[in-house]
């Protein structure tokens, strides 16, 4: 049960946007801009960073949906995703370096070190990719807190998650 009267039959953050429609253009704009492009990081990698940060913030609702979208886009099954989240198994050195940055951002922006940035750059990460990784990680530190801070619970089932993930993977966040 959420701490304030929300329509929890609407899945995920959409119930919050329904409660407070004034932020919908900004939130959707942010999501479309950062999650729905393939320049540098592809859409699947962006969703993986979102799931990774949500996992470390223990925000199950966000991890479940963004993990499912990432898996859909990257062609993974549940076991592939679980191995990636637990051991970064299957990540290229470049992606591993970016996930390490996102992990630090999850704790606090100040935890990112010049050495980590140098390592990411040495592995071929561009300035734009580093920027996008840190902004996506920061965004999910907001979304996770917004959802969990209001005590929102997910009513998703494995089936509904799959359907929603497929829809988001195909159509994005603008609709």
């Amino acid at each position: 049960m959420a701490y304030i009267p929300l329509d929890e039959s609407i899945p995920g953050i959409r119930s919050l946007l329904a409660y407070f429609p004034a932020i919908e253009p900004a939130m959707k704009g942010l999501m479309q801009t950062m999650m729905r492009q393939d320049r540098g990081l592809n859409k699947g990698e962006r969703e993986l960073i979102a799931a990774w940060v949500s996992h470390h913030n223990h925000c199950t609702a966000c991890e479940n949906i963004h993990g499912a979208v990432a898996s859909h886009l990257l062609g993974w099954d549940e076991a592939d995703y679980a191995r990636m989240i637990k051991e970064k198994a299957g990540a290229s050195p470049r992606l591993e370096a970016l996930l390490a940055l996102a992990r630090q951002v999850t704790c606090n922006g100040k935890k990112v070190t010049p050495e980590q940035i140098a390592k990411a750059k040495a592995l071929g990460c561009t300035d734009q990719e580093i920027h996008d990784t840190i902004l996506i990680a920061s965004m999910f530190c907001m979304f996770n807190r917004y959802i969990d801070g209001l005590g929102l619970t997910s009513r998703d089932t494995p089936e509904s998650l799959k359907t929603r993930a497929q829809h988001l993977a195909e159509y994005g966040y603008g609709t």
């Binding site: 409660y19 900004a26 801009t33 606090n108 922006g109 100040k110 990112v112 010049p114 940035i117 969990d148």
Partner: protein
């Protein structure tokens, strides 16, 4: 010195916004709705205070200074007094409602799951509405984003606190949408 080449020498989030205008737009729209929209029973000063407090907890110097100076401007309170409030919120003479909301914001800073029913009940008891509780949580969450964006990319910030205090009256007039990033 920022971790990436921002192609400008603007401080804090302004350097990031000049580097990435397409993300600056929704970020500024969010700040405008959360901190300045007039359809809100929390004053602009109270909302800036929440942003400043969370930035202080996250030790994000740039965001703390900008928003503490704005809070001080709106609330007609010297930043030295706001420092003392942040240092010992429990002992401060703030009205009960804003104090209870700042406690919730502090919990959000540590993690969304840290917010408890007891704290929400305490805020309601002190007169906070559902919408005010919602806005507090969202403002706190948004500053957990802004702070990380600013610090995670290693942006620089003017060290002199007077810089931010002097800019606050003009920033209060301009808001977060119609302002010149380069001024």
């Amino acid at each position: 010195m920022s971790f990436i080449d921002l192609k400008n020498d603007l401080p804090g989030i302004r350097g990031l916004m000049a580097y990435s205008p397409h993300t600056a737009k929704p970020l500024n729209e969010l700040a405008e709705v959360l901190l300045r929209d007039e359809h809100n029973t929390l004053s602009r000063g109270e909302r800036e205070l929440i942003g400043a407090y969370v930035s202080w907890l996250n030790q994000c110097f740039f965001c703390q200074q900008v928003h503490e100076a704005l809070a001080g401007h709106y609330l007609a309170c010297p930043i030295g007094e706001l420092d003392q409030i942040f240092d010992n919120l429990g002992a401060s003479a703030l009205p009960a409602k804003i104090k209870a909301l700042l406690f919730i914001a502090g919990q959000v800073q540590t993690g969304g799951k840290s917010v408890s029913q007891d704290q929400v009940d305490a805020a309601r008891h002190a007169g906070a509405s559902d919408r005010e509780i919602h806005d507090t949580i969202l403002i706190a969450a948004a500053f957990c984003m802004f702070n990380r964006y600013v610090d995670g990319l290693g942006t620089w910030a003017p060290a002199d606190r007077g810089y931010y205090v002097n800019r606050a009256p003009q920033r209060a007039i301009e808001g977060y949408i119609d302002f010149d990033l380069y001024k």
